[in-house]
Symmetry: C2
Subunit: 485 residues, 2 copies
Amino acid sequence: MSRTTFPLDALAPDRTSQIPLHRQLYQALKTLIQERTLAAGTALPSTRWLAHDLRIARNTVSAAYDQLITEGYLSNRAGARPVVIDLPAAPTGNGPSSASEAHYPLSRRGELMTSQPFHYGSPGHMAFHPGMPDASNFPFGLWSRLLARRASFARDTLFGTYNVTGHPDLRQAIAAYLKAARGVHCSPEQIVVTTGAQAGLDLLARILLDPGDAVWMEEPGYYGAQSAFIAAGGHLLPLRVERGNWQLDPPADRQLRLIYVTPSCHHPLGGTMRMEQRLRLLDIAESRKAWIIEDDFDGEYRFQGQPVPAMQGFDRAQRVIYIGTFAKILFPALRLGFIVLPPSLQANIAQAVSITGQFAPLLLQAALADFFEQGHMARHLRRMRRIYAGRRQYFHELCAEHLSAWLRLEPGDAGIQITGFLREGLQDAVVAERGRRRHLNLSPLSMHYRHGVPRQGLVLGYAASDAAATQRGILSLRETFEGCS
Amino acid sequence: MSRTTFPLDALAPDRTSQIPLHRQLYQALKTLIQERTLAAGTALPSTRWLAHDLRIARNTVSAAYDQLITEGYLSNRAGARPVVIDLPAAPTGNGPSSASEAHYPLSRRGELMTSQPFHYGSPGHMAFHPGMPDASNFPFGLWSRLLARRASFARDTLFGTYNVTGHPDLRQAIAAYLKAARGVHCSPEQIVVTTGAQAGLDLLARILLDPGDAVWMEEPGYYGAQSAFIAAGGHLLPLRVERGNWQLDPPADRQLRLIYVTPSCHHPLGGTMRMEQRLRLLDIAESRKAWIIEDDFDGEYRFQGQPVPAMQGFDRAQRVIYIGTFAKILFPALRLGFIVLPPSLQANIAQAVSITGQFAPLLLQAALADFFEQGHMARHLRRMRRIYAGRRQYFHELCAEHLSAWLRLEPGDAGIQITGFLREGLQDAVVAERGRRRHLNLSPLSMHYRHGVPRQGLVLGYAASDAAATQRGILSLRETFEGCS
């Protein structure tokens, strides 16, 4: 390209612009190359020549050229003028929308994962989101002070990629709490802090299950756990639960790899596993060489008597893996939970955690350790237990008064959710969908079944609603039922 | 058991204890049952009788009995005295330590996951942790104020299980930032906030790869990405990178499912992919119907010229998945990163995220959105770029002065880490181990190879060390080398 045909006009700088001149020149040249106005093989003017013609400094031109060389638009030959590189056209094809592929952008596992049942709330649809604690009684002011204090001094230990398995202060606090409150025996080294119980289930499913391995899973059972096992390739076998009774007849013809139970407070039905069954289950696990996951999501909330100690405390064969969460006793969006591993599973767990990227923000962990340390956790739990007992009572009363034609509540005295069975003929998914239009957050019981015909019911969280909200919610639910009849 | 033989002494209350009387009685009875002093079938005394003999209130006895009934130690027959249940002995076996099993407590996948390479720091071992930003220049005071402000008003939108794919404010802020700073084109809806880049890689590996699927992976390449693909069952094929050149000859005989690249700043070698190669890679991905993961972990730090725009912005076929992290531009323990998905992968991604339990704490996300919104991010980046440029320069000078006999630095002008190749005969793992004893955090280059003979080198993070720390570190490294000779 000769000096006279070079498209100098397109490069004229705008001296009123905020954009630096070298950046303007870079952008203008890039456009000329992309549009092929400057064809491949074109030698650009020397920096001296172009600087002169554009009336800009020579190192402004150099800066623009350098950037284009870095990005690969111009070749860089020492001492020579840079030359426009022959670039292939950017692909413009139809890509993933082409027919054969449109139905299969994901892997088979990806399809499985994205098709699992899912129930999450939206702000403002509180009644009756299952497992949701009460926000208005959480000490946010205190929490904000604990966070701010730790954040101001975060630089040394809360900054880097240390403590993949959990902040030492928090692991210590959790071990002490579990011993006192849940009868769990463990050292802080057995604890892995996770970004919630689901993350713990996901990690365990992956390190314990190979595709095809059998999981003896409560039926009905927590759908999040089922999804984690299925995503890891596990094969679910039903461990049927009804009226506080676990049918402990393990399938005779299959090797069992994993057993999942919620013995303190069954999810979703709310029963408590009797001691006899706990001991039998431990025995089955040992003789079948299976792991037990004891998911203690709700064990702190028992409204008659004391919380029932965890099964982990009776396990002498080190077969039980205990999972806990702070989603119910503090709040879900905190995203903190933990696993207690038997010593035989401790080795190299940090490697597995680091692959998942699951390790939790250190700042939140440190603030939570302080929350324990300063006695706030014990106080908060005592207080919430009292509040929830009252709400539970009121919820029962209103259900009896308004909903008995459609809903029969499962008896029980634990947990921050209550399951009700629907009258014959009502479909829980339909009720939930109709309720959604009335700003109710209803979780269908049928989501928790994977084998045979699911029972129809609703898993109702009562804890987040004060008396007025409970009343509004129950009346809305009555209208919903009336609309379904 | 008759009234005279009943072990009343063992139940005598301690009235000086802090423990409530019903709890003392419960504990004492439980011990008697567990020790089989109270044998199965024994009918317990009536509440009236026992209350009288122990001189305690009758409802204290009832409370203890009720708890034992709940936990399954006593049977509950209406109107009758409770009877001790026949409990099987707790298993005491050797459990997982028995010979055949001790070597195989995990699944095959679990063994794979726990045996992946792993490199994390410990507080106090800062020099020369790769990818580590500078803690002392992070505005912790400001961060603490942003957190505290959001925490005080957290109750409505930052409390529950909403926004699994990310807080709306943060997704908005990231989309705007990516457009301006990285040339990435996306709507906020395409963004999934993750608990860091590794979590994003792990999620993508699982939803895109089935076991056996081929991944064309940079060699050397980021070991964390390799681990995520391997854990998902991916089969790695090497995409060789040397001196800023990506050898783009895809294996002819295999279906490619996924391509992993770090085009803005190669990890670990530091080169930048030229435009010609970017366009060719996009073309290969389209013709082979493969996904590209563009991991832009370090693209913000370029010290000559401007950051090179991301490949995602040139991708018209929607084949590129872009991954970013705040670990390098803010700090690692924040545990926040993100994925930009092509629209064809957006559907139902919340289900997959919810299985992994990976969704990030909403409070941190909201505070980070404010950090962007109020202009702190842009200021912080400008400031750190200036500081790191100086540190990089100084690091180069000291290496040339002290380490040239052992270490040859790879040229490059981007990133907060620099790779050096070791002199023939030195083993990087040995050097790293010796350095550890001198409180150096050295990451061996050989970790990043999976095929053939790895090159020996060190990946050195210079950004977290001020002049004094850099000098101390370099001198320690020299002593380490001297000790290896």
